[in-house]
């Protein structure tokens, strides 16, 4: 009798424990799903979100570092990519996010925020366009539209600049590798957007020759140049070259707003 009692008590206790664990995990599950579908991941809330708000849940974006060694034993400190031979590159191998948000150079010339790049994602397919009422402006299978990256990772457009064709790293010696030879006077209305630090860029370019090239061909992983807006500048002539006929004359509106 005693024994049976104990069994029952144990069973009840065990059951109790199981129910509690189940409740806890379903609660966690609920929280997880509620967070995934948090309005902050969608328009319009994402437009006014601050980095701090995103980081309350996504701190790992900042905390995560590269592995100490690759599975085959390769050490990050033994690797140096071709684009990391620019004179602006400092420090150890780091993650994609940290290079844009945390590196000294990134902080010197840019002021990127989560929502400069992230414009929302659809959790149903972890991407765009999975339902009739989803956000249709998003890119398939991506959280971020790659044409945004193209602004700083496109090809150097030698053709329109009237410089010899080919890579600046080879042809730039004609100009002492200094873009400002021409750009001290040409297209001087530049970088007036909320994710760049225009004055800091000009200052940095005085002492480091790769500053301008870095964002305009030196880290190009895409096959094309970015079609930049063409702002009027003081010494600009009246005629518009053919290649510029369809260009906007102002930066994209969302980059002009003052960020919160």
């Amino acid at each position: 009798m005693m024994k049976l009692c104990q069994v029952i008590v144990h069973a009840t206790l065990a059951l109790g424990v199981i129910t509690l664990a189940q409740a806890e995990s379903s609660n966690a599950n609920l929280q997880y799903n509620a967070s995934r579908w948090d309005p902050i991941h969608f328009k319009p809330a994402i437009d006014s979100a601050s980095n701090e708000q995103c980081l309350t849940c996504h701190q790992e974006i900042i905390d995560r570092k590269v592995l100490e060694r690759s599975p085959a034993g390769l050490l990050p400190e033994d690797a140096l990519a071709w684009y990391q031979t620019l004179d602006t590159y400092e420090g150890e191998q780091d993650t994609f996010h940290r290079r844009h948000l945390m590196s000294d150079y990134a902080k010197e010339v840019m002021d990127l925020r989560c929502n400069t790049c992230h414009q929302g994602n659809d959790p149903r397919e972890e991407t765009a366009n999975s339902s009739a009422n989803g956000d249709t402006a998003l890119t398939q299978r991506k959280h971020v539209d790659p044409t945004l990256c193209l602004m700083c990772h496109g090809q150097y457009d030698a053709q329109i600049m009237g410089v010899p064709p080919g890579d600046w790293r080879e042809t730039g010696n004609l100009f002492n590798f200094d873009c400002l030879t021409c750009h001290a006077a040409i297209r001087t209305h530049r970088h007036q957007v909320n994710f760049l630090k225009p004055q800091a860029i000009e200052d940095a370019a005085q002492s480091r020759k790769d500053v301008c090239f870095g964002c305009h061909g030196g880290r190009a992983w895409y096959d094309i140049p970015f079609p930049y807006p063409r702002h009027a500048w003081p010494s600009a002539g009246p005629e518009i070259p053919d290649w510029a006929k369809n260009r906007p004359t102002e930066s994209t509106a969302r980059f002009l707003a003052t960020p919160n």
């Binding site: 590269v66 690759s70 085959a72 033994d78 031979t85 191998q93 366009n129 895409y222």
Partner: protein
């Protein structure tokens, strides 16, 4: 055996590399280029290709080399639904490859396959970020990135990749991308009256990397 450099020499090498500084990236131009074709209209979205792929590559929950996307829209009575099915597009000018700092990603001269040796991956996730089509997949358990290699072992054995073999509707196929684009390749994925296109709605701009893929678009998924 390669000589092992001590700390001081290593620093010197790094400085020398920096000073030389004329590092230019030269893309691989393959002899031929393999590429997929997917029929967006006839695909029924069963995801057999996705499962065949996960099986072949032993993938845990999370990373998906191939992904079938359901696109739905319209309002009654004019509703529509179609599928877009993408893995890695083994681009003519891949963005992942030049971004990789360790040389883990490479493109095969023979057939243009873009492969990754994940044992050299340090988990910086640059390839994942630079790829316009969401191909490289981060495996959070191992902290490294993996991706579709077109079942390179199957290719070398003269067969098609698992996703193509698993497709019961025959809407997915793989062959020399030029034959696909010129319409000279006979495949069940393309009906006689259909013409393959380079991109569909919401697919990232194909001029970024020239992806080796062709679609048979749905009327609502056409661009241009």
């Amino acid at each position: 055996m390669a000589m092992k450099l001590d700390e001081e020499k290593k620093a010197k090498v790094k400085l020398a590399v920096k000073r030389r500084k004329k590092e230019v990236y030269t893309p691989v131009i393959p002899d031929t280029q393999l590429g997929f074709v997917h029929n967006n209209v006839d695909c029924i979205g069963c995801r057999a290709c996705e499962i065949a792929c996960k099986d072949k590559n032993g993938l845990p929950a999370g990373p998906r080399f191939r992904r079938v996307q359901y696109v739905e829209g319209g309002s009654y009575p004019e509703v529509y639904a179609y599928k877009v099915n993408i893995s890695c597009n083994h681009c003519a000018k891949p963005a992942c490859l030049p971004a990789c700092p360790t040389g883990a990603i490479f493109k095969r001269q023979k057939d243009g396959i873009v492969d990754i040796d994940s044992t050299l991956c340090i988990g910086c996730r640059r390839c994942e970020a630079t790829c316009p089509y969401g191909a490289p997949q981060y495996d959070p358990e191992e902290g490294i990135v993996k991706k579709c290699n077109l079942c390179v072992d199957e290719i070398d054995a003269g067969r098609k990749p698992y996703c193509v073999m698993g497709c019961m509707m025959r809407v997915l196929d793989l062959v020399d991308i030029n034959q696909l684009r010129q319409g000279v390749y006979d495949t069940k994925a393309i009906a006689p009256h259909e013409t393959p296109v380079r991109a569909v709605k919401n697919f990232a701009d194909p001029t970024l990397t020239n992806p080796s893929i062709a679609f048979i678009p749905h009327s609502k998924g056409k661009v241009e």
